[in-house]
């Protein structure tokens, strides 16, 4: 405990505390003496009352002594310093206040947001500084920045900055903010104090383990004491991911409940001009999905905006996405002279929903293709294996030269096979469907599209079913030799053992051939769900567009949610050109334009990590062993300037007077 006396010169007054004791001891009057017949009765009475009288006298003596002590101390003006950790007003100090400006600080508690409370605490902390001290403020956000580039003496400017500051919608880089603060304090002379003013959100601060030098006193000032329940839109997924014009696609809006009670919310989904809504019940600390369906009639980008009905924390109640609706699907086919391959190409082109490209020998860019056709290749090229993705379909006809093989990627294939033609021991073979309930055969169940197992085959690859590695046999010949095998991994790989060439089978001429081919190629779309195309970013970042062409700056434009033009930078480098937004984005949908036409979207959505508003106890924040938690900024001032005790002593003296009066009444009564 640290105590200073502002009026120490009045210490001699302490002698007055002994006054009640002296009066008690010395002011025993010498009363007049009277001769009396017998004092026996008087003595008896006094003995009986002494048991009560003596404690009463002692109580009064104590009360009066305490009163004298309180009065004397009032004049001495004691000041109590709760802790010696902070520099006194006389010492030079260097203070950095890190104020959390991340999205969670926008949570409303009572009549003000956490951020407003944090700025008030910061102002309190700065108010205890003098002209000889230096200070700075570091805003904790996605890219932490300080008000001054270095420690400054203009405290007024810092206070103005606090008054004008606004909370962001960004997640924060705590480690960077701490490093920035420590970096500024390192060269400073005098005491170094670092204040962390934050809600210490659990999702952000539980990962922090930043060591602060022991020479820096760290004070944690928590704001935000409520475990505020919150609901948030956390994702928008499309199924299929890239819809076709005229094709109905699903929009899945994921809603999460960051609260201890189940909650019912309304989700509104706006797609283009249409608007739908759905009520969902979200379990405590759980999530659910609100699904909507939409059909885009024309190809092109379709903006999607999902909104949750408002709660007390609104930043995460809106989310954007852009669906790239295409006119056709894209298929990449290996160049081939194989008759089966040629018939595939003609069939795919006849479907009308595919655009087929045939790359050069080394240009296997299949990552964006919906289907990859590999006719007559004894093995799947490595580049194709490595580029396989969810929702992609590879149709592989190994060809007559196939003797078996297992892929490097995925480890699937056939161990051992040989080519056989009719006239040989097998003869003409018929097909049978071995997985009638599979989605591939869904179209044929009603019988309107024929029998996919129709046709006769005079040539085929022969391998036993147990030679198949990692796949499922969908169709087989009547002797059990697999005819159509599917391998599931990243994407779908179909091994096609249904030769179509002349003399090999009559399958290509059957009505079931094209529908079966189409169903195989389209099965991938069912699993192709995911985030929409285009860039998804968070507030505080600066979106980048990597240009695939050499462009003039005048050809490029960067537009914000309100369609206003925003500044950007065009960077030219050895590895290519890129356009970078100059300023960090806020929430909303942004677009890159080339030649006046939107070519790319960037959806800046609320960082999900900021939606969980639970806070961490400041003691659990690992910022070095030298840290202490304070209740608020006023306590900082109390620690620095001390707490004047004279008002409390004055109240105590008054209370003692009242208690003495009550005690005297009690003495009178007894």
């Amino acid at each position: 405990m640290n105590l200073l006396f502002s009026n120490a010169v009045l210490w001699p007054l302490v002698a007055l505390v002994a006054l009640p004791v002296l009066v008690h001891l010395l002011a025993r009057a010498r009363p007049a003496a009277y001769r009396f017949s017998s004092v026996e009765l008087i003595l008896r009475i006094l003995r009986q009352t002494a048991r009560i009288k003596k404690p009463q006298d002692w109580i009064l003596l104590v009360l009066r002594t305490l009163f004298a002590a309180a009065v004397v101390l009032v004049f001495l003006q004691p000041v109590y310093f709760p802790s010696r950790r902070l520099a006194s007003p006389l010492e030079r100090k260097n203070v950095v206040v890190v104020i959390d400006a991340t999205a969670s600080m926008g949570c409303l508690e009572g009549s003000q947001t956490r951020f407003a409370a944090a700025c008030a605490e910061g102002a309190d902390i700065l108010s205890g500084l003098t002209a000889r001290d230096t200070a700075n403020i570091v805003w904790l956000k996605a890219e932490p920045e300080s008000v001054f580039p270095d420690m400054g003496v203009n405290l007024g400017f810092l206070r103005d900055a606090l008054r004008q500051a606004r909370v962001t919608q960004e997640a924060g880089d705590v480690a960077m903010a701490l490093r920035l603060a420590v970096q500024m304090l390192s060269p400073a002379e005098g005491r170094k104090e670092l204040y962390l003013v934050s809600d210490f959100q659990k999702t952000a601060w539980s990962r922090v383990d930043e060591a602060v030098p022991p020479s820096v006193e760290v004070m944690r000032v928590p704001v935000g004491r409520e475990e505020a329940p919150n609901g948030a839109l956390t994702d928008i997924l499309l199924e299929p991911r890239v819809p076709l014009a005229g094709e109905e696609f699903a929009i899945h809006c994921r809603v999460q409940n960051f609260g201890p009670q189940p909650t019912r919310r309304s989700v509104f989904c706006s797609v283009g001009e249409s608007r739908q809504s759905q009520d969902v019940l979200i379990p405590a600390w759980g999530e659910t999905t609100a699904s909507f369906r939409h059909r885009a009639s024309t190809p092109g980008p379709v903006t999607i905006r999902a909104v949750l009905n408002e709660d007390r924390f609104t930043g995460d109640d809106t989310r954007w996405a852009v669906a790239s609706v295409r006119g056709t699907l894209h298929a990449v086919a290996a160049p081939t002279a194989d008759p089966t391959g040629k018939l595939w190409l003609r069939a795919v082109e006849a479907l009308g929903c595919f655009t087929v490209t045939q790359p050069g020998s080394n240009e296997w860019r299949t990552a964006e293709a919906d289907a990859v056709l590999l006719p007559g290749l004894p093995e799947i090229p490595g580049s194709v294996q490595g580029a396989l993705r969810e929702g992609q379909v590879v149709l592989w006809w190994p060809g007559p030269d196939f003797t078996g093989g297992v892929t490097r990627v995925g480890g699937f294939g056939v161990e051992g096979a040989h080519w056989e033609t009719a006239g040989g021991r097998s003869g003409v073979r018929a097909l049978k469907v071995t997985a009638a309930e599979d989605e591939v055969f869904r179209l044929f169940r009603d019988g309107d599209h024929g029998n996919p197992a129709g046709g006769s085959f005079q040539a085929r690859l022969v391998f036993p079913p147990d030679a198949v590695r990692g796949g499922e046999v969908l169709m087989a010949y009547d002797d059990g030799v697999p005819a159509l095998v599917r391998f599931r991994g990243q994407g779908l790989v179909y091994l096609w053992n249904l030769p179509l060439g002349t003399g090999q089978s009559d399958f290509a001429g059957r009505m079931e051939f094209i529908p079966l081919l189409a169903e195989i190629l389209m099965t991938g779309r069912a699993a192709d769900s995911g985030r929409a195309a285009g860039e998804e970013t968070v507030p505080g970042r600066r979106p980048v567009w990597v240009l695939d062409r050499d462009a003039m700056e005048s050809d490029i434009a960067w537009h914000g949610p309100d369609d206003a033009a925003l500044p950007f930078l065009l960077e030219r480098g050895v590895q290519g050109n890129r356009a970078v937004a100059r300023d960090p984005v806020a929430l909303g949908l942004y677009q890159w334009q080339y030649g006046g036409r939107t070519v790319r979207y960037a959806a800046a959505n609320f960082p999900v990590v900021e939606s969980d508003l639970r806070t961490l106890p400041p003691e659990d924040v690992r910022t070095g062993v030298n840290a202490v938690s304070l209740s608020d900024g006023a306590r900082v001032r109390a620690m620095r300037e001390g707490v004047p005790l004279w008002p409390y002593l004055l109240m105590a003296a008054l209370a003692l007077v009242m208690v003495e009066g009550v005690t005297l009444l009690w003495v009178e009564r007894t």
Binding site: R30, R35, F36
Partner: protein
């Protein structure tokens, strides 16, 4: 009987007031002289007592022939024998009896005792006087002459407050000196242990003494004066005690009344006469139980 000489404690006006009074305590007493008090001993006298059956050897002159005429049986008449009373007066002369102003308790008691002695002697009865404090200071054997009265008056005038009160000791020492039973009058402020007092009185009661206690107190002893913070000095022990009188007045009054009530109750149980008097009332009121 001739008028006594003029004494301090025997004023002529008091003597005149006594003219119509006769000392007549209620108890039966033993007496040698033919006084006016009944004696438990049967003898020839003018006052009939009772009948008893004739036995051979009785004086035939005492036979009541009217009874014989009615009953054909011989009965004798018996008569009361009148004796003279002895009154033994114990006067407390301890230091505490010196309390009181303008008249101390001792002076007040002395007036009463002097008048009582005169009354007894005028009644041709005998009176003795014991002056005591912590022991027996003076003993004047019973007498009934005017000379004896004069000696008692002189003793009273020369009496001064002494030391502590020990009534029980005085009674024990006086017991063998009192040959004949009679009235025992104790005049004191009874600043002593009541149990010890009544313990010392037991032999007297057993012998048939008729005992009267006269409790003399100053009004300031019943109700403490309001003197604020005062030091009280015990007149007998010299002990000093300082206190606020206003804080203990109520308790003191209750305690003193309790002491008086205790004495009264003990006296009533033992068939002992008790009377309380304060020095602000005339001592003549003390004679009520003693005279006719």
């Amino acid at each position: 009987m001739t008028e006594p000489r003029r004494f301090k404690y025997l004023r002529p006006e008091d003597i005149r007031r006594l003219a119509g009074m006769r000392f007549a305590p209620e108890a039966m007493v033993e007496g040698l002289l033919a006084g006016r008090h009944r004696s438990p001993m049967a003898g020839s006298s003018i006052e009939f007592r009772d009948y008893r059956q004739y036995v051979p050897g009785d004086d035939r002159a005492l036979v009541d022939w009217r009874v014989y005429a009615r009953t054909d049986r011989y009965y004798l008449r018996t008569y009361e024998q009148e004796t003279n009373l002895e009154c033994h007066v114990f006067l407390d002369s301890s230091a505490s009896m010196g309390f009181g102003a303008p008249q101390s308790k001792l002076e007040y008691a002395s007036y009463f005792v002097a008048t009582l002695c005169y009354l007894v002697i005028r009644n041709t009865d005998r009176v003795s006087l014991v002056l005591f404090d912590e022991g027996m200071r003076a003993f004047h054997a019973a007498g009934s002459t005017s000379t004896h009265l004069g000696n008692l008056m002189q003793a009273l005038e020369e009496n001064r407050p002494g030391s502590r009160t020990r009534l029980a000791d005085a009674l024990q020492r006086a017991y063998p000196l009192l040959k004949r039973r009679g009235s025992l009058v104790i005049v004191s402020d009874f600043m002593d242990d009541p149990a010890a007092i009544f313990g010392a009185l037991s032999p007297f009661l057993h012998r048939g003494f008729r005992i009267h206690l006269f409790h003399i107190l100053d009004p300031l002893e019943l109700e403490l004066p309001d003197r604020g913070l005062a030091t009280f000095v015990d007149m007998e022990s010299g002990q000093r005690v300082a206190t606020h009188t206003d804080r203990i007045r109520s308790a003191y009054r209750d305690a003193m009344q309790g002491h008086v009530a205790g004495l009264r109750e003990l006296a009533a149980r033992r068939n002992v006469g008790y009377r309380l008097a304060t020095t602000d009332a005339h001592y003549f009121s003390l004679f009520d139980p003693l005279v006719r």
